[in-house]
């Protein structure tokens, strides 16, 4: 079995009284592209934020690149974050800076490289995502797909070992979405990075995944290759993967809560 880049060990996360993640266990292997699937509110984005250290778990631990994130001090967390890259759902570009300055920011903040070298590195990163000719544009001048590509260039600025993607295809047209998917595949192959992708877009998930896991109500239901997921007999997996209108997910929504909501709880 290949080495694990990230180990999620019985992680529990609660917001108030609501348990978002309940004893979740997961291994992400070095060099693979793992897709975390799940509907809205399933806890997948929370899991991603736990893995990048932006949220602390209430129970369990996450061991990433050989270190426990839960036990990290602020300086240790900063060192860890220099070894990972994150593409946020909106791209999260800094609106007051040009595309080139966005990509150069981590290099200016975390390295002693001279400006000339940083300029060259920024061009290389932008070329990788096909945005070199747009380097001087401001984020407000970019389309949704270009913003994500610029965000990706910034995420790989420090040559991370792990790349996290939060809904990379959300809000994009099918062609742009396919382009972003191809970029994820290329970066995984060319740079050899481990990729963790959180999404609910099935077409995109099947294109990029080496392995997939399905998260439902804070628990993992199933894990497997795209082929295994496609042919799964589990009714919940079948409904999610094939986008069926009938199945356990819709049955749950049509449950007794609706009657209670209409008529009130009757003792």
């Amino acid at each position: 079995m290949p080495d694990a880049a990230i180990q999620v060990l019985d992680v529990v996360k609660k917001y108030g009284t609501r348990t978002v993640l309940d004893q979740v266990r997961l291994d992400v292997f070095k060099g693979e592209t793992l897709v975390i699937l799940g509907g809205s509110g399933s806890g997948k984005s929370t899991l991603l934020r736990l893995m990048i250290g932006n949220v602390r778990p209430d129970g369990g631990d996450i061991v990433s690149l050989g270190k426990s994130i839960a036990g990290m001090t602020a300086p240790e967390l900063a060192v860890y974050r220099k070894n990972i890259g994150v593409l946020f759902q909106s791209g999260a570009l800094f609106n007051s800076m040009s595309v080139a300055d966005n990509v150069g920011l981590p290099l200016r903040e975390h390295t002693d490289l001279p400006e000339e070298t940083i300029d060259i590195m920024v061009k290389i990163k932008l070329e990788l995502v096909g945005l070199r000719e747009h380097a001087e544009k401001m984020p407000s001048e970019l389309s949704g797909g270009m913003k994500k590509r610029a965000g990706l260039a910034r995420a790989i600025a420090l040559d991370p070992q792990i790349l996290f993607y939060d809904e990379p295809s959300a809000g994009l047209d099918p062609v742009t979405s396919a382009e972003i998917d191809q970029l994820i595949i290329d970066l995984n192959q060319k740079l050899g990075v481990t990729s963790v992708v959180v999404t609910h877009e099935m077409d995109s998930a099947f294109r990029i995944a080496h392995r997939m896991v399905l998260l439902d109500r804070g628990k993992f239901i199933v894990s497997g290759t795209p082929d295994e997921m496609k042919h799964s007999e589990d009714p919940l997996v079948r409904q999610f993967v094939h986008g069926l209108t009938e199945g356990p997910l819709t049955a749950r929504r049509r449950g007794h809560e609706y009657v209670d909501d209409l008529l009130g709880e009757i003792d």
Binding site: R49, F88, F94, N95
Partner: protein, 266 residues
Amino acid sequence: MTPALNPLRPIRSILEFIGGLTLLLLDTFVTLPSALFSKRGRRLGWQNLWAQMDRVGVQSVPIVGLVLFCIGAILALQMAPILREYGKIDSVADVISVAIFRELGPLVSAIVLTGFAGASIAAEMGTMVVSEEIEALEAHAINPIRFLVVPRVLATTIMTVCIAIVGDTAGIVGGLSVGQFFLGIGHQQYVTHTFDILKLKDFVTGLVKAGVFGALISGLACFLGLSVTGGAQGVGSATTRTVVYTIVALITVDLIFTATFYFLGF
């Protein structure tokens, strides 16, 4: 007891708010050296500071100047009839200079800056929270306090002091103009009275207050901006709360300062 009826709840909220703001300002103070003087912080730290000083201060000079000029002129017109009755029309210059330097210059400059810089900082920070920019900074191991809050707090503090000096001058010029053109006080006579009555401590206490006001404006704006939840509505609410809370805080802190200076004999 239900939480809504708990009388301690508002007190707890106020204490939490003050505690949070104090921690943010302490964090800013502790982070300041690394933001400006560490090898890597220097690279963007000074650039960010100049940009914020320009945004906060330079652009608000004409507005503060105009407002304080008008206040100086208004004060002169209001004082003139009473002082003329006592045969002390020359004392218009004395009253205006003390009022402007000790009180109105710093306070009015700070109130103008609250609308000019505080609201804009809160809206900017709130929008950055909503668009995941703050989270992105953290994910890139860049401390938002060092990168965003330090330059804004420092720039506002420095520029409130500078703007207060501009405001003080504009206020005196406003009074002098009314004195010269409407009250028959010659400009040389007015300036002589001003310099005779003013002491260094009047100038210094005003500027100390201005510095504290500046830190308060930007501290509150950053704190409320970074606490935004709930999208565009949250940003709007944070901006409004910044203006209201800051004006209340400025007046309260001003009272504390004035009372302290009074009892200490300054």
